[in-house]
């Protein structure tokens, strides 16, 4: 579904991604892990062109999205994104946050979008927070609302950029549980994470990044049992 070809990304003269290639198939759950500064977040942000790659090609369902002529907005509606800092719209209620894009971008009738929003909020366990504004939600609730918002566009894939990294420890689990519930329902999930437990249990595959390079691409059960590279082995030694 998503294919990366030799992705390079420079910030000024600093090369953050040094030629990354790989493929993610429909319905797969991919965990991207690696030490801080390895380029994980940058990589996931290049996929929906929030940080367009300096060079290299990205294909979504066979269409090259890094060529000038594509409608970036349309591509992005196929790929939801969940951010580390939630980025909910603070001046809209939780339900409005979820229903806004379906109404305005997908042109769904308002009532239909609101119903969809209610169903999704129920799915993430926030049915009693429909009329609450984001500043009144806890971190875990915010992130679950953000997941519902991404789901509302019925994307083919969701990109999770460190979704639990700014949460208090006791709230990590509720978010991970929602993510677990999504896995293997047909939606493609690409998750940048430090949650090794989640990567091991839920992900089908792991990409291990180090210093801007994809140095290991393995099924998650083999990756955690016997990593092929020394660098990955050392990393797992430290975090597990």
């Amino acid at each position: 579904m998503i294919r990366l070809e030799n992705i390079h990304k420079f910030f000024g003269s600093h090369e953050v991604l040094k030629g990354i290639s790989g493929e993610i198939s429909q319905g797969e759950v991919l965990a991207i892990i690696g030490p801080s500064g390895s380029g994980k977040s940058t990589l996931i942000r290049t996929i929906n062109l929030l940080d367009p790659p300096t060079s290299g090609k990205i294909y979504i369902d066979g269409t090259c999205i890094t060529e000038g002529s594509v409608d970036v907005g349309k591509i992005r509606t196929k790929m939801g994104m969940v951010f580390q800092q939630f980025n909910l719209f603070p001046h809209m209620t939780t339900l409005e946050n979820v229903a806004y894009a379906p109404i305005k971008v997908k042109k769904l009738p308002r009532q239909e979008a609101l119903n969809l929003g209610k169903i999704l909020l129920q799915k993430v366990g926030l049915e009693d927070k429909e009329k609450t504004y984001p500043p009144q939600l806890s971190g875990g609730q915010k992130q679950r609302a953000a997941i519902a918002r991404a789901l509302a566009m019925e994307p083919e894939a969701i990109l999770f950029d460190e979704p639990t990294s700014s949460l208090d420890p006791e709230m990590v689990k509720e978010v991970l549980n929602v993510m677990k519930g999504l896995a293997h329902t047909g939606i493609t999930m690409i998750v940048v994470t430090h949650e090794m437990g989640f990567a091991r249990e839920v992900a089908d595959r792991v990409w291990f990044l180090d210093a801007g390079q994809l140095i290991e691409d393995s099924p998650s059960h083999t990756f955690f049992r016997e990593p092929r590279t020394r660098r990955a082995y050392e990393f797992l030694e430290k975090v597990l």
């Binding site: 929906n48 929030l50 907005g73 349309k74 591509i75 992005r76 509606t77 790929m79 939801g80 994104m81 951010f83 800092q85 939630f86 980025n87 909910l88 719209f89 603070p90 001046h91 806004y100 894009a101 305005k104 971008v105 500043p135 953000a146 918002r149 991404a150 566009m153 990109l159």
Partner: protein, 218 residues
């Protein structure tokens, strides 16, 4: 020094009638200045260099010359330039709007800049087009950010609207000077005018405090 308010007592209602005039100039100009200022700010944050340049140049002109000059230029030069006999009201509204928009656009620009970058990213990731993102996501938050400075802008405008008396607008100040010239006493009517402006400004200041307090708690 012998203040004698009794002599101007019959004229006080006449001066008081200047309040709605002053408020009308202030509020109408503020309304249009707000819209025009927001549009200018959108130009300033746009990626189109030409629009950005025009908006920046516009702002520098209106902030770089005296408002009194702008007002008199509009009032006296318009008939000569385009042959339209512009009224005092039109000239006043036009000058105050164009001028306050320059200042308001700077507040707006700062307010837009203060909205978290994550908001833009979230909007983009949902495929929300730029115009909708600005209208529904960024500007409502920017307006919230700049509400206190907008009230300050309205205070400035309220006081500066007294310039309309120079071209004959019957606002508070003009009426006070008319009374002064008529009765040939100056201190009392001008003092009344000053007191009126002061009270109006204080009301706005209290509003600014209330808004700031409310923003802080929510």
């Amino acid at each position: 020094m012998g203040l004698d308010f009794e002599r101007i007592l019959p004229s006080i209602p006449y001066i008081l009638q200047g309040i709605p005039v002053t408020l009308a100039y202030t509020s109408v100009s503020l309304f249009f200045g707000f819209i025009w200022g927001a549009l200018l700010a959108l130009c300033k944050v746009s990626h189109l260099t030409f629009l950005k340049w025009v908006a920046v140049f516009y702002t520098s002109i209106f902030r770089g010359t005296p408002l009194l000059l702008q007002l008199t230029l509009i009032y006296f030069a318009t008939p000569q330039l385009v042959g339209y006999n512009i009224s005092i009201w039109e000239a006043g509204i036009l000058a105050f709007t164009l001028n306050s928009a320059a200042y308001i656009s700077e507040h707006f620009r700062a307010g837009i800049g203060a909205v978290d970058k994550g908001q833009t990213e979230a909007a983009l990731s949902l495929g929300i087009p730029y115009s909708l993102m600005m209208k529904d996501i960024i500007l409502p938050q920017a307006i919230r950010n700049i509400l206190p400075s907008l009230v300050n802008e309205s205070i400035d405008l309220l006081k500066e609207s007294a310039l309309i008396s120079v071209i004959g607008g019957a606002d508070i100040l003009k009426r006070a000077t008319i009374v002064a010239n008529e009765k040939y006493i100056f201190f009392e009517p001008l003092l009344v005018a000053g007191a009126l402006y002061y009270v109006l400004v204080m009301v706005l200041t209290c509003m600014a405090h209330l808004i700031e307090k409310k923003l802080k708690t929510s």
